[in-house]
């Protein structure tokens, strides 16, 4: 038996290809939206992976340092380091801000997450685990390692708050949970960037403190200077990253820190659930809604196209029924055409999404699982969409082929 659907498609191939391409672009948008969501999740996981930590110690009762602000003294890491099972502990600060590159052509700023890392050796918690160009930070001040997504290059001079930094290394896929590329600078510089006020604010704060009789007592020399020093100094960090010894479980190390240091400690799974379940939950729902709408629009378009194609063949269907074609052959013809349209659409959509993904400013992750799921979803949509046309075709009276 010849394939009626195949012959019809070959006969009107231009119409099918053109329609399939249109549908494919819609499917491409759907796949890209799914890729945007996967990219957000992956950004979160990459952030955790690249931090090199097993535990995140943050301010008590906060979801810091990524989902909420967390501030804690920068000397706590010493006592945490002495807790049982702790192999390494390092302070870290995170601050998302505009980072400007200074050049002859003028300043160009980029949204970036500035990460303050503890002076030490590469491989310590918080440090970028690998570079694609240049070297790691070796000086205590004014050097930076930037993700290539910032567009910065080696030897570029960056301006962060009041200080200038030279880019000495470049890394890749070091991004915040919201996809902003990272710029690593020494911790002390990062603390200044995060907590240090400008000169005018410092001057006014000093005046205010001098005018306060509680701090400026004639009988207590040195009090005013001590207070001013404490006000202008910055000794806070956002978190302490902890790497544990292999023979300890995460909970065995986390529990004593919670209990004795009065801090909140998250392990990898908890931090992942915070990032995915809380930080990007609203965005994920937003994207999910878009996916649902796009799926419905795709279904409506496929249904409309198949319905129109079937309407164009009403007389032929009546003739086919009159000369003895079984209903299942006619239904099969319509179903196969819907599926072919879906396959053409999916192929076009997959190709367009693959080529379009790198053009997006944020990471778009097209996973094979999503593609397979998308393929079967498209086929399911096509099957459902063809039901209306099939029902209409099966209702066609073969008597319509006979005049009168």
């Amino acid at each position: 038996m010849i394939s009626l659907a195949g012959r019809d498609i070959l006969h009107a191939w231009g119409k099918f290809i053109f329609t399939g391409v249109g549908l494919g672009l819609l499917i491409g948008v759907t796949l890209t939206m799914a890729g945007v969501y996967r990219g957000m999740v992956d950004d979160g996981k990459v952030l955790l992976d690249n931090s090199g930590a097993d535990l995140w110690v943050v301010q008590k009762d906060t979801l810091g340092p990524y989902a909420e602000s967390s501030s804690m003294p920068d000397d706590l890491w010493r006592s945490i380091r002495t807790m049982p099972g702790v192999a390494e502990a390092a302070n870290v600060t995170y601050l998302t801000m505009q980072v400007a590159r200074q050049s002859n052509a003028g300043d160009q700023d980029v949204r970036a997450m500035v990460v303050g890392i503890t002076a030490g050796e590469a491989g310590a918690p918080g440090w970028p685990p690998q570079l694609v160009a240049g070297r790691q930070i070796t000086r205590g001040h004014y050097e930076a390692v930037a993700d290539i997504a910032t567009g910065f290059q080696l030897d570029d001079v960056l301006k962060i708050r009041r200080n200038h930094y030279t880019v000495v290394g470049l890394t890749r896929r070091m991004v915040s949970s919201s996809g902003d590329p990272m710029v690593f600078i020494p911790l002390k510089d990062a603390q200044e960037a995060q907590f240090l006020k400008d000169n005018d604010a410092i001057l006014m704060q000093r005046r205010r403190t001098e005018a306060n009789p509680a701090f400026n007592r004639p009988g207590v020399p040195g009090l005013l200077d001590a207070v001013i020093t404490s006000q202008t100094g910055n000794s806070s960090v956002n978190a302490v990253l902890v790497r544990i010894q292999p023979e300890f479980s995460q909970e065995e190390v986390a529990e004593p820190i919670r209990r004795w240091k009065r801090l909140t400690v998250y392990d990898r799974a908890q931090m992942e659930s915070i990032l995915v379940g809380k930080l990007i939950a609203t965005s994920a729902k937003q994207i999910g809604m878009f996916l649902v709408i796009l799926a419905l629009v795709s279904a409506a378009i496929v249904a409309f196209i198949i319905y129109t194609l079937t309407m164009d063949k009403i007389r032929e269907i009546a003739v086919l029924k009159l000369i003895g074609t079984r209903n299942r052959a006619i239904a099969g013809m319509i179903l196969q055409q819907a599926l072919v349209l879906g396959v053409i659409g999916f192929v076009v959509g997959k190709i367009s999404a693959t080529f379009a993904a790198p053009l997006f400013p944020k990471y778009v992750l097209l996973t094979p699982v999503d593609s397979v799921f998308g393929f079967f979803a498209v086929l399911a949509i096509c099957v459902l969409s063809s039901i209306v046309a099939i029902r209409m075709a099966l209702k066609v009276d073969p008597a319509e082929a006979i005049g009168g």
Binding site: I2, R7, L10, H11, E316, V319, G324, T325, I402, G404
Partner: protein, 236 residues
């Protein structure tokens, strides 16, 4: 006795029930022998199309008896279970417009019916080509319907009606869209094929050009058929 061909006795068809019922066919009696071509004529609304749909097993007659070949197919109720197979295997249709399937080439338009009946594709195409040759359109075997002239399309439609070698062919105004010469050619072909395949052919027509060619004519008026002898003129 019915013998071969098609035999109809007391066929009636009522639409609706009660006060709104319309008796479209009241008492139809016909017999068309194998190899014979008869005309079925009548004014609009006389019941021609209803009779054609009853004969074509597309609608259910209300009462009567129909014998196709040696088989009683209707006797106040359908005696065959699969009307679709009955239409496919025992009845050939030729329509006013050819209604060829636009996405199949000429050969496959004709070969589709035997394929639907389960015949292997090659065998079905061979049979189709034989018919196309008999109808002198074998040179257009690979053409698409849209590439054919009106006369060629109608010949292909006749080939499709004959391909399963049905005992009866129902032709609904087959010459309506054609000029005199082509109309006569189609009637000649139907007669030739009826003779060659011993098929009974019923031609429903209004076409004054071809009515004189029939040897027998059934007039239908108000749902009742009346038989009369035709002129049986030559087709030239």
């Amino acid at each position: 006795m019915a013998g071969k061909g098609i035999h109809i006795e007391g066929l009636s068809k009522r639409y609706g029930e009660g006060d709104t019922a319309v008796l479209a066919l009241k008492d139809v009696n016909m017999h068309v022998a194998p190899g014979e071509v008869v005309g079925l004529i009548g004014p609009s609304g006389s019941g021609k199309s209803t009779l054609l749909k009853c004969l074509g097993a597309v609608i259910d007659p209300t009462a009567g008896r129909m014998v196709l070949g040696d088989e009683v197919i209707f006797d106040d109720a359908w005696k065959v279970r699969d009307l679709r197979a009955l239409r496919r295997d025992k009845i050939g249709f030729v329509f006013q417009a050819p209604y060829l399937i636009p996405f199949l080439d000429v050969t496959d338009n004709v070969a589709l019916l035997p394929m639907l009946a389960g015949m292997p594709n090659n065998e079905a195409r061979t049979r189709a080509l034989e018919l196309l040759t008999a109808l002198d359109v074998q040179h257009r075997a690979k053409a698409m319907p849209s590439q054919l002239s009106g006369g060629e399309q109608q010949r292909v439609a006749i080939a499709r009606g004959l391909v399963n070698r049905p005992p009866v062919i129902l032709a609904d105004e087959p010459t309506a869209p054609l000029d005199s010469a082509r109309a006569m050619a189609v009637i000649r072909i139907l007669n030739d094929m009826a003779q060659r395949f011993q098929t009974a052919v019923i031609v429903v027509t209004h076409d004054e050009k071809i009515i004189p060619t029939f040897k027998r004519i059934y007039h239908i008026r108000d749902g009742i058929t009346h038989e009369e002898a035709g002129e049986g003129r030559s087709f030239d």
